[in-house]
Point group: C2
Chain length 451, copies 2
């Protein structure tokens, strides 16, 4: 553990007591009338006061948790000179001041691995429960944080890290008998889902990205979303929980969505499916096959019918597939989920700690169908010539679709029978070498017939 | 409260201590190695030893709950002369003997409102936690049982009552901020879903029912499933939890699936959707609109892509729709969910008690699209004549499809624009009167575009 944990950056001490707040409540939780509103408030510290932290601060003035008001004891910021919209919440840059104000629970919304890790460790060591929305933190340091929490008796909750608007993560942790899961296939990143949905409507990648930025759905540097880093962190959290395996996000095979075109989506539809930004992992013993990237999803698959920024996940379990879908992210829903986690912790609910994890080993690549795109400024070779060339590498075509665009050349999309990746790679190398065509492959998500 | 609650039928006393059982565990929960297996066993009584109770008894010998073995203290049966496959579990017909064996938790799998209500009340009064799969019991007597449980400090859990294989009910109860729901639309009955899926493949209703009976999916008297009684009880449980409204299952408008034909499903597909056995409720203040029956589901709706015995539910929430899907029922998955509930209770997790419910009032029928089927042994009137007649009653046709079957006459399926039920009823009366045709209408589930 870094020594920084006990030596946080010094800053302003907490000012006087917070200004009194009006204890407004949401519809259902107004004045329950059984005297519970006189219960002790839940004392909550905010670690971070960015978009999510500010949304929590606003929501906290409007709701009560099982009849208990929320008392914000302070907010940790990196630079307390900046004006903050959360008036009435004492702001500090000093972790000691945060802990000295005796919060019951700290909500971590700093983002990124450090300094979040150091600050959260400090809170947990001192017995402050932590609720977080920080997937990078949990994916990289979840086991370390849980060990410290367990030792000090603090709770650590992370429902908001994966599909923030759909409670399912803690539910699966609580219910191991009904949820013996062996694989997950999900749309875990709302930004790329929005981008592919826009591309499906005919936008170029650049145009879709500009629109996402206007709507606040994409960062100025969108690479964490577009290149699948965000989704690979969420996948690692799921594999740790459900497969009891420690999977490094960096070891997940990733493919960017940046080269997906409107034509790809049109022809995917002709071939009976669509392209979605998918995160997938399947495990057996200590081996895991994991990837993140655009994938061909058959129209009958439950993930095919969701769009926009909605997220969804299919879990293969011994009892049949489970599907969860809904809002993936956004400051408002993330704030709601964080405060739901706070309510559970304040109520005294404790999740079972996950069992020790085993280091994940790479599994052999499975046999799946692939959507191939072969294109050339010049006329393409004949369909049967291409099929023969692919077949000579063990790649057999199930059906195809093609387009000819004056000026942009010809393209053909081919859906293959199931085959391992190494054969597809070799076959596309051969196509490039023999014909001079450009060639790429999107893997498919197999149809979940049982759902 | 009936006096029967304190005067259960007398029967055989519990025999001696249970025979020792081998404490086998499932994969993930074998010998955790941190000494937890020496923890006190969880003492569990079974109320009912039918299909579900027997599945629980079998599973209980193979799993542990957070490292604690399960000790079955006894099983309550109606007639202990019958041979039972759960060897080693003391069987009795006497509720007093069940409670005298000091179980921590009773699993109720008797089914039906009585004597389950009387027996569960007796357990709760005496401080025995109860976990149940009995939707009839909770739909009719949930508030009474919760009041008694709350007074005595006992827990009452019912995750297995609605979509037994998908944990979501207690999750929604725990997380009111992320789950402010205003309507539910679900496929809540696996039997009717199986039947409609078989009819979609070309089976007649009678043939599908015979197949379901062979597979153990339908009772000898299938009316509770086919006529929607089972689904209306589940709907009442959801409306109580999510809408805080007391809805009598008997007040839910129900339509049987028995008259759905393979032709209906073929033409629903031509018109861009399918027919599913749907349960729907939407509420606003104290008013609820609720129905159960076969409904037209657009192909883009998340419920359209699930089939067989799988269940699913779409919840409209302030933050966007939520979707949950997976195995709906069956003894094995129900047993797993019951024991997951037992584990939560044994761990000391306590759900917030639901707020007091308000008696539901009937809401005005909403404007929705309808799938009309108009048929006659004789040739049908011309399409524009029919459309004019419907339009004169305010029912406007969006698109249509027709078939002519030598010997069976002609049929036409028409998908309308949204309109209230009273207009559809009047329009179909007019069609019957003016043309002598048979006419019926299936309501539609509106497309959830946001998901």
């Amino acid at each position: 553990v870094s020594s920084a944990a006990t030596q946080p950056p010094r800053g302003t001490r907490l000012p006087g007591p917070p200004t009194s707040r009006r204890a407004a409540t949401l519809r259902a939780r107004e004045a329950p009338g059984d005297g519970r509103r006189t219960a002790t408030p839940v004392r909550v510290a905010l670690l971070g006061l960015g978009t999510v932290g500010s949304a929590v601060a606003r929501l906290a003035t409007r709701v009560s948790l099982d009849g208990r008001d929320i008392h914000l004891t302070g907010a940790l910021v990196r630079d307390n000179a900046r004006a903050r919209e959360a008036a009435g919440v004492p702001v500090t840059t000093d972790v000691d001041a945060i802990v000295a104000a005796r919060p019951d629970i700290a909500i971590e919304a700093l983002g990124g691995a450090e300094p979040a890790r150091t600050i959260v460790l400090e809170c947990l060591r001192r017995g402050v429960h932590v609720v977080t929305a920080n997937k990078s933190l949990i994916a990289a340091h979840g086991d370390e944080l849980r060990a410290v929490a367990r030792a000090s008796g603090a709770a650590l909750r992370d429902e908001a890290t994966v599909i923030a608007g759909v409670p399912f993560l803690a539910t699966l942790a609580r219910r191991p008998l009904a949820c013996e899961v062996t694989s997950v296939t999900g749309i875990l990143n709302g930004t790329t889902h929005f981008l592919l949905s826009a591309i499906e409507r005919g936008e170029t990648f650049a145009g879709a990205l500009a629109e996402a930025r206007r709507l606040g759905l994409a960062e100025s540097d969108p690479s964490s979303d577009v290149d699948g880093i965000d989704a690979s962190e969420k996948l690692a959290i799921l594999v740790r929980l459900l497969g009891r395996l420690r999977l490094s996000p960096a070891s997940v095979a990733r493919r960017s969505i940046a080269d997906v075109t409107p034509h790809d989506l049109q022809h995917a539809a002709i071939l009976g499916g669509t392209l979605k930004p998918v995160a997938h992992a399947a495990w057996s013993g200590p081996t895991v096959h994991a990837f993140v990237g655009p994938a061909f999803v058959p129209a009958s698959h439950p993930l095919a019918s969701i769009s926009g920024v909605t997220n969804g996940i299919v879990l293969t379990s011994a009892s049949g597939p489970l599907f969860y879908g809904g809002p993936g992210a956004g400051p408002e829903i993330t704030a709601r989920t964080l405060l739901d986690d706070v309510a559970e912790v304040a109520r005294g609910e404790r999740l079972p700690w996950p069992e020790d994890g085993t280091a994940a080993e790479a599994a052999a690549s499975p046999q799946v169908s692939w959507l191939l795109r072969i294109s050339s400024p010049a006329p393409l070779p004949g369909g049967s010539d291409l099929a023969d060339l692919l077949a000579s590498h063990g790649v057999f075509v199930r059906r195809g679709s093609e387009s000819s665009d004056p000026g942009a050349g010809e393209s053909r999309w081919l859906l293959t029978w199931p085959v391992v990746k190494v054969r597809v790679d070799a076959a596309l190398d051969a196509v490039r070498g023999a014909t001079g065509c450009a060639a790429t492959a999107f893997r498919s998500v197999e149809d979940t017939h049982a759902l």
